[in-house]
């Protein structure tokens, strides 16, 4: 097997599937697939427009076919919870928490992107996470935290901390953190 791998013929067409490298290489950046961002000019960091039914529905994991290509269950890549804090407050709190954890934050169009710069070797990014706040009613907001690529354990730590600091009720926590069991 090793001999075959060394051969020039093999190397020509073969792309090694290295789980670690692969994650980095095929990091699906949510920013790149967000359509029409420039049009949503009303959405800034301080406000969010009232969610419509289809935006809510579209959040279903069952409608997320990325499961075909991802090894982890969607619950290990995405967390959602509701909160009564205002979007501004939520974003600020999230930003504080993640900065304390050593992450770098980028803000764009009402969304927050969290990136941790990897310390060693050649991998520049170890974790890429996006957070977004949606308004369900004037006093109720939905927060979604999505991992676009990176270390699962690190992501779980981040979610735990966020849940804890933002006071996510147990019932929601249970469903979101099934993977922690």
């Amino acid at each position: 097997m090793a001999g075959i791998k060394e051969d020039q013929w093999f190397k020509r067409r073969y792309t090694p599937v290295n789980p670690v490298e692969d994650k980095e290489a095929t990091c699906i950046d949510d920013e790149s697939l967000t359509i029409h961002e420039s049009a949503s000019s009303e959405k800034d960091a301080d406000s969010s427009t009232l969610i419509n039914a289809f935006e809510l529905i579209g959040m279903s994991s069952s409608l997320d076919l990325s499961g075909f290509f991802e090894k982890e269950d969607v619950s290990e890549r995405r967390m959602r919870f509701t909160s009564h804090h205002s979007p501004k407050e939520l974003m600020e709190r999230i930003e504080d928490i993640v900065t304390q954890m050593g992450f770098v934050v980028q803000k764009r169009n009402g969304k927050l992107k969290v990136v941790e710069l990897h310390k060693d070797r050649n991998s520049p990014v170890n974790l890429s996470v996006a957070a977004e706040v949606f308004e369900i009613s004037p006093s109720l907001y939905l927060v979604e935290v999505r991992k676009s690529c990176g270390d699962a354990k690190l992501y779980r730590q981040l979610c735990e901390k966020l849940s804890h600091d933002l006071g996510v009720p147990r019932s929601q926590k249970l469903l979101n953190t099934e993977f922690l069991v």
Binding site: T15, S61, S62, L65, G67
Partner: protein
């Protein structure tokens, strides 16, 4: 070496020729062949019959074959193009084609409309939307008062149901998603652009087969 024609009959028993599928979709022949690797692993996961049944689809998407729900069922129905109760390779490729970043907006809009038209009436009724919202809330462990759900529906229908008949027709849907393109986000899988990287070259596999025989 071999050309595509000579490989297809042996490697795709009972399935459509990748060359034909490639010509009808946004996928290249290599990409269709890579999709076959994915298809094989899904279709053999519960019953090794070369076809994808509902349980196998659930397992592939949710890593859990028991997670049956409204949306999963509908996705299965849509992928089961010929309504045979199973998804064959041709169905699989053609359905995934709609999710390709290069697929037409029109195809994506039509697919999403059919997706949400759960009972296939040609309209997305208010009651259907309510059912779907409740399903989502349930899935996320969130509870919302009925008044709030109704409020969300009111606001949505005010915007989309232009003729105020309590249901959404194709034209209303088309106009609505054109104004709110983020609603079609679920209809694109960027992974499909890198499919030949995600699923290693089939060429290697089939060369090995020939050497073995």
């Amino acid at each position: 070496m071999g050309c595509f024609q000579s490989k297809s009959k042996k490697d795709y028993p009972g399935h459509e020729d990748p060359v034909v599928l490639a010509s009808q979709t946004a996928f290249s022949v290599s990409e269709v062949e890579a999709l076959y690797e994915l298809y094989k692993s899904i279709s053999s996961s519960v019953i090794d019959d070369g076809l994808i049944n509902k349980e196998e689809l659930q397992l592939a998407l949710f890593k859990n074959s028991k997670r049956e729900n409204l949306f999963a069922n509908r996705i299965f129905e849509l992928f089961d193009v010929k309504r045979k109760g199973v998804i064959d390779f041709g169905d699989f490729v053609r359905s995934l084609n709609v999710f390709h970043p290069n697929a037409s907006q029109e195809d994506k809009i039509n697919f999403s409309f059919t997706l949400y038209d759960m009972d296939d009436t040609g309209f997305i009724e208010r009651q259907e939307v309510k059912q779907m919202v409740i399903a989502l809330l349930c899935e996320s462990g969130m509870k919302l008062a009925d008044e709030i759900i109704e409020m969300i529906l009111d606001k949505t229908f005010l915007e989309v149901d232009v003729n105020h008949d309590g249901k959404i027709d194709k034209t209303e849907w088309l106009n609505f998603v054109t104004k709110n393109p983020s609603l079609l986000k679920i209809m694109t899988l960027p992974y499909l652009r890198d499919i030949t990287t995600t699923f290693p070259s089939f060429v290697f596999n089939s060369e090995v087969d020939e050497i073995a025989t």
